[in-house]
């Protein structure tokens, strides 16, 4: 809304920051969700900058989305933030909201890990757009991230639908100018249009002319959702966020997100249809471009979704046959477009033989202690999604099984019932994963009369995404000491017989506790406590060093996987195993692994 006393200034913002600003300008009342790279900071910025907006990190994505749906029904604009992998957890909630009556705008801000930067599989949130028939918007820079956030709420209310704002690892971590009004005053938007909002089950029953569907009581709750989306598909041909730039007739490109800028950078004479709304597609604009050019390409990051949808319209486009997707391509770059579409483009390749950096745990991480004990005693275990999953990589070899967030307890239970509990297959889970969905696994194994050992790594936060609070943290947006959940008490209430709590740095105690639990013939939980060294900046102890005269280079210490222990070539070419004193925190784990007494404080 333009006001008389507008002061427009240009601010540098990354995509996450711009989305938060968009939420503020859209008059959002409630923001909920679950941390996940790359979109975690959307919530962090919203909470820090805009105290008028109620913010919460929910226990998991599904809960987060349900909170936002409830707030939306109350009439208030609400947003749920998560990564695409998190939306898999929340998908049932989204299916329930899709096609239902929307009062206050409901927007999901979902981060796609384009380029596999944070290590996910290559997910693409737009599949949910197709599956649930809901609109998806995609910005190309920070300015658009802010603008499309506002547009998303308008679409949500006008067409009665949840809307997905797709952001990517590139958008989230790219900083560019955003024009904002310094004098903008926050105004909560509230709209209650529908007295009821039901999942599509109610509506589809009526659409099939089920008995009694004409009854006024039923008609009152009918929402003609296919008609809303049809209207949007037609209207979006005139949306200014879908821009048709007609230039040369040789090459036409349909694109969205940052690939729009890669295209502009490389193909100066191409005609381009740049989509801000990637679902539904503006059919009229696509046909206009198709008629204008000799060859029509689709340049989209992620899966070939626009390409397939365009082909479904009967329009011929060139996409993945020229630009093969993951794993052949991590993400689009200007280089790839140049290589394929610019004749005689120079070829440039990265130098061969540069060693790869596998992820390594921070020096002093409690996970290193657990990995070390599991390996030392050849205990088979499932890892959860935590910083500890680094223990699954080939340089660590501490775990045999690892899947998704919150899974390890149920995975271990499944293994144990299948093998008649012959060996105790252990589950390791972080505090975040435990509260997210792991707690369900624990309840499940108890009432199904199973037996298992669970190691819960309590580092007081969700470390992997930068240290957000969980239910058992002693800080947080809405933290009160009396509301802090105790992991041990909850485990006890669930029915776990044997619960011990140990400090991670007390190596011998920890070793004993894990061995006792594994060998006991009962359900057990070992809670391993140590706040995250990076998040809480724990005071450092004296650094350790390796006595080169005693060191036999057996590499037992280096196999711990600590960032501070390095294999270095000295100036004379001789290889030495050394401890980087800038990185060492003095936890002493490496000294427990050395049989030759070479490592000392």
């Amino acid at each position: 809304m333009k006001k008389e006393n507008t002061i427009s200034t240009m601010k540098m913002m990354n995509g996450n920051e711009a989305v938060a600003r968009g939420a503020f300008e859209a008059g959002v009342k409630v923001a909920s969700g679950f941390p996940g790279t790359p979109s975690t900071e959307v919530m962090d910025y919203t909470q820090q900058r805009y105290p008028d907006i109620y913010c919460e990190w929910s226990t998991n994505e599904k809960v987060g989305l349900e909170v936002a749906i409830g707030a939306s029904f109350a009439g208030y604009r609400s947003l749920a933030v998560m990564k695409t992998v998190g939306l898999h957890v929340a998908a049932d909630a989204l299916g329930g909201a899709a096609g239902s009556q929307i009062n206050g705008g409901l927007v999901l801000v979902v981060g796609d890990d384009v380029g596999r930067i944070a290590g996910d599989d290559y997910n693409d949130v737009r599949h949910y757009g197709n599956m649930f028939n809901i609109p998806v918007l995609e910005p190309s820079d920070s300015q658009e991230a802010k603008d499309l956030m506002i547009k998303a709420f308008e679409i949500s209310e006008e067409y009665s639908t949840p809307v997905i704002l797709k952001i990517t690892s590139v958008i989230c971590k790219t900083t560019s100018g955003v024009i904002i009004d310094e004098n903008y005053t926050y105004e909560v938007k509230c709209r209650v249009k529908y007295p009821v909002s039901f999942s599509k089950v109610i509506m589809t029953t009526m659409m099939m002319n089920a008995k009694g569907s004409k009854h006024p009581k039923l008609v009152k709750c009918f929402n003609d959702f296919p008609a809303h989306i049809k209207r949007l598909a037609s209207d979006c041909n005139d949306f200014d966020i879908n821009k048709l730039e007609l230039k040369g007739k040789k090459i036409g490109v349909i694109t969205a997100g940052t690939p729009y800028f890669y295209t502009k950078e490389v193909l100066h004479d191409a005609s381009i249809l740049k989509l801000g709304l990637v679902m539904p597609l503006p059919e009229k604009l696509i046909r206009e471009l198709a008629q204008h050019v000799e060859k029509l390409y689709v340049i989209e990051d992620g899966h070939d979704i626009m390409e397939k949808n365009i082909k479904d319209l009967g329009i011929s486009v060139i996409g993945k046959e020229l630009f093969p997707k993951f794993p052949e391509m991590m993400r689009f770059t200007p280089d790839i477009i140049e290589e394929k579409l610019v004749p005689d483009a120079p070829k440039r390749a990265v130098m061969e033989g540069i060693p790869f950096r596998l992820p390594v745990s921070c020096a002093g991480c409690s996970h290193l202690f657990i990995s070390q004990i599991l390996r030392k005693h050849k205990i088979k275990a499932a890892s959860d999604v935590t910083c500890g999953l680094i223990g699954c990589f080939p340089h660590m070899e501490a775990y045999q099984l690892q899947k998704c967030m919150g899974s390890s307890i149920a995975l271990a239970h499944g293994f144990n019932v299948a093998t008649n509990h012959k060996e105790n297959f252990v589950a390791m889970i972080g505090d975040g994963g435990f509260w997210a969905t792991g707690i369900n696994g624990l309840m499940n194994l108890i009432f199904n009369d199973s037996r298992s050992t669970t190691i819960i790594v309590d580092n007081s936060c969700l470390a992997m995404t930068g240290g957000q609070h969980v239910a058992s943290s002693e800080f947080g947006f809405n933290y009160k000491p009396e509301n802090k959940l105790e992991i041990a008490k909850v485990c006890e209430a669930i029915g776990v017989k044997d619960i011990v709590t140990v400090d991670a740095y007390e190596f011998e105690n920890l070793e004993k506790a894990i061995l006792n639990a594994v060998n006991a013939n009962t359900n057990s939980v070992v809670i391993v406590q140590k706040p995250c060294v990076t998040k809480f900046k724990l005071p450092k102890g004296d650094a350790y060093s390796i006595d080169q005269d005693l060191c036999t280079q057996c590499r037992k210490c280096i196999n711990i996987g600590c960032l501070a222990i390095e294999s270095k070539k000295a100036k004379d070419g001789k290889v030495e195993i050394v401890i980087n004193e800038d990185l060492c925190v003095g936890c002493g784990l490496c000294s427990t692994a050395c049989k030759f007494d070479a490592i000392k404080s």
């Binding site: 560019s176 950078e265 060693p355 596998l358 280096i558 294999s567 800038d582």
Partner: protein
């Protein structure tokens, strides 16, 4: 001739202050009225993973957040294995600044792969580009910790080479870093000027 804009890659490993470097530089160019796009690529590891920042300033709107290989004017790298990853991205007349600091990679540490047999510093020097090498061990100082402040040392070197105002740059540093780190940062900056002048002479 007026500077219409440049493409810069800032590289290193987590914890070396790459994002602070691009933040400081962005403030300088914003004051000059340039348009900017800065794209940070951060890996999975919280510490010790590769970090790269694509920094583009221009007197016209910047399009791609990523710099195309072959379009890099300046590479500033705080870790020499990381320097090697970007040599092919340089323009013919591109300039490289590289620290000789090296954080050994986990895959070499655990013998999943062999390290390169050649000296990495020599590989960088023989790239055929204008190259400035800074050895943190040779430039140790009791006034500041060069292992943590190579970013500021290189900022000063870069500013000296480009003929930028050190006073303005120092002012930006003062405004941007926490109070207790200002003094150390200024010492690092001054050291950077000294190193630059010696190498440029």
């Amino acid at each position: 001739m007026q500077d219409t804009g440049k493409n810069i890659i800032i590289a290193g490993v987590g914890g070396q202050g790459i994002l602070l470097f691009s933040n400081l530089l962005s403030k300088y160019y914003m004051k000059l009225g340039y348009e900017l796009k800065i794209s940070d690529v951060i890996g999975l590891g919280q510490r010790g993973g590769g970090v790269e920042s694509h920094f583009r300033y221009s007197n016209k709107p910047v399009l791609s957040p990523f710099i195309k290989a072959g379009d890099v004017d300046y590479l500033l790298s705080f870790e020499q294995t990381e320097t090697l990853r970007y040599l092919h991205c340089m323009k013919d007349d591109g300039v490289i600044f590289s620290s000789t600091f090296e954080l050994s990679t986990s895959s070499v540490n655990t013998r999943l792969e062999k390290d390169m047999p050649e000296s990495k510093t020599e590989l960088i020097k023989s790239s055929g580009k204008k190259t400035f090498i800074i050895d943190p061990d040779e430039n140790k100082s009791s006034d500041f910790d060069i292992s943590k402040m190579m970013n500021i040392v290189m900022l000063a070197f870069y500013a000296e080479l480009r003929g930028y105002s050190h006073d303005e740059m120092i002012q930006i540093v003062k405004e941007s870093v926490p109070e207790k780190f200002i003094e150390g940062n200024i010492k690092a900056y001054e050291k950077g000027i000294v190193i630059a002048r010696a190498q440029l002479a």
